[in-house]
Symmetry: C2
């Protein structure tokens, strides 16, 4: 049995999110259908992150297990020939049998993009959330520094009850601006549901002068959800990258090299 991992890109606008839902158009359902067409087998396709309805991805990772003997370098083109236009398979590699797109992930990188301008943009409308009032980018940058490190992010979770443990480690968080675009790039070992959107909502309130930058530090200590900012909409969100241990990937590719 082979395990194939694939980097997936999608425009989330017309999807009800990543995860399969009965009667809805989802990324996972489209991928399952495409894998079935290519491999002639119906197998589960597992994603690294269950992105929200409307959220995009340039670097989602999925895996599936198959007996099909298609050369791994042909997998992206084969999938793309049957995938809809708003999903693309970008790259595939042969992984070892223990590889799991979700559980093997060492970190995930998300980007949230704001269109900071009083007038909306037709071309950014699908990919950025508009904030009309000017943002104090420096205050937001100051706030972002508190996020880095190991913290309890309960205050930023949509449903705290779902988790045994709401501690996550943020490896890096940068807020950058090339106006009218302002974006947050955040890398962590894992994210609670709604976490990036609640962080961004809080940062926006800081940027609008409604809160002090130190509010982030207080939220990390208090852990009370009601105290954090509003949840910004998902269409500004993009899963940029999922990282795995170099060693795992190299070993997988060496194995694949022997196997072929």
């Amino acid at each position: 049995m082979r395990t194939i991992a694939v980097v997936i890109e999608y425009d989330g606008t017309d999807f009800a999110g990543f995860q399969v839902q009965r009667g809805k158009r989802t990324v996972q359902a489209e991928l399952c259908r495409a894998v079935q067409k290519v491999t002639k087998q119906s197998v589960p396709v597992i994603g690294a992150s269950r992105t929200d309805a409307g959220a995009h991805a340039t670097g989602q990772v999925v895996h599936f297990r198959t007996l099909c003997r298609i050369p791994v370098e042909r997998v992206p083109a084969a999938l793309n020939s049957v995938l809809p236009r708003d999903i693309a398979a970008r790259y595939a590699w042969e992984a070892d049998e223990t590889f799991h797109a979700r559980y093997s992930a060492r970190s995930r990188v998300y980007r949230y993009t704001i269109w900071n301008h009083p007038v909306r943009s037709a071309l950014m409308e699908r990919y950025a959330y508009r904030v009309s009032q000017p943002l104090d980018v420096e205050a937001m940058q100051q706030a972002v520094r508190y996020l880095v490190g190991k913290h309890d992010f309960a205050a930023f979770a949509s449903e705290v009850g779902r988790y045994r443990n709401t501690v996550r480690e943020v490896y890096s968080a940068q807020l950058q601006a090339r106006l009218p675009l302002v974006w947050l790039r955040i890398e962590a070992n894992g994210f609670l549901q709604g976490m990036v959107r609640a962080i961004m909502g809080t940062l926006i309130e800081i940027g609008l002068g409604k809160r002090a930058p130190e509010t982030v530090e207080q939220l990390l200590q208090s852990g009370v959800r009601g105290d954090a900012g509003f949840n910004v909409p998902a269409h500004g969100l993009c899963l940029v990258r999922v990282n795995y241990d170099e060693s795992t990937i190299l070993r997988s590719e060496q194995q694949a090299g022997k196997g072929l």
Copy 2:
């Protein structure tokens, strides 16, 4: 009677081009409808360029004449509140009565974007034309230099018969690459129909080594359409900007300042 000029942005994917066509969804028809809703008058809305079906714009300019007394700075928001999501009014100014979006234009700037990668991208699919084979960017850059200046562009026109005069002046033309993206930015006093797309098709053939860069010089001399490259599809094309004489705009805005 006031003359109002508006900078318009659109995602051309779901439009049958700029110009009104019976029974089709066009940018001009949507703009006419929006202007009518805002001004309560049915007036023509004239665009600087009739972009093709599928082509985009970040800086199309339109004008209309009206008796409506809406302050010009409120025009973009008023139009945006009734325009569909894939069109946005970005900026408006009060122009003098001789202003004409098309005939007063001093130059237009187009960008054509290529996604130069064997694997397609879901997020660039709407905005860039994919070329799978690697392009020789240097050869293309060499070819682009021949375009600058006053030339007869008949070889690059879709319908030569339509024009009394096929001479146009290209003020600047740059080909840039940040792989996998490769794009042409070209500014001219005017463009023949299909001109940018035929130029880009020719440049791609040069980039693939099927033609020498000097072919562009020869085409400008021969003027035979059949000799130029293929017409690349419109979805890689974007009308970036329309330039008017500074003097006209300043005078218009001064007048507007007095009028308000």
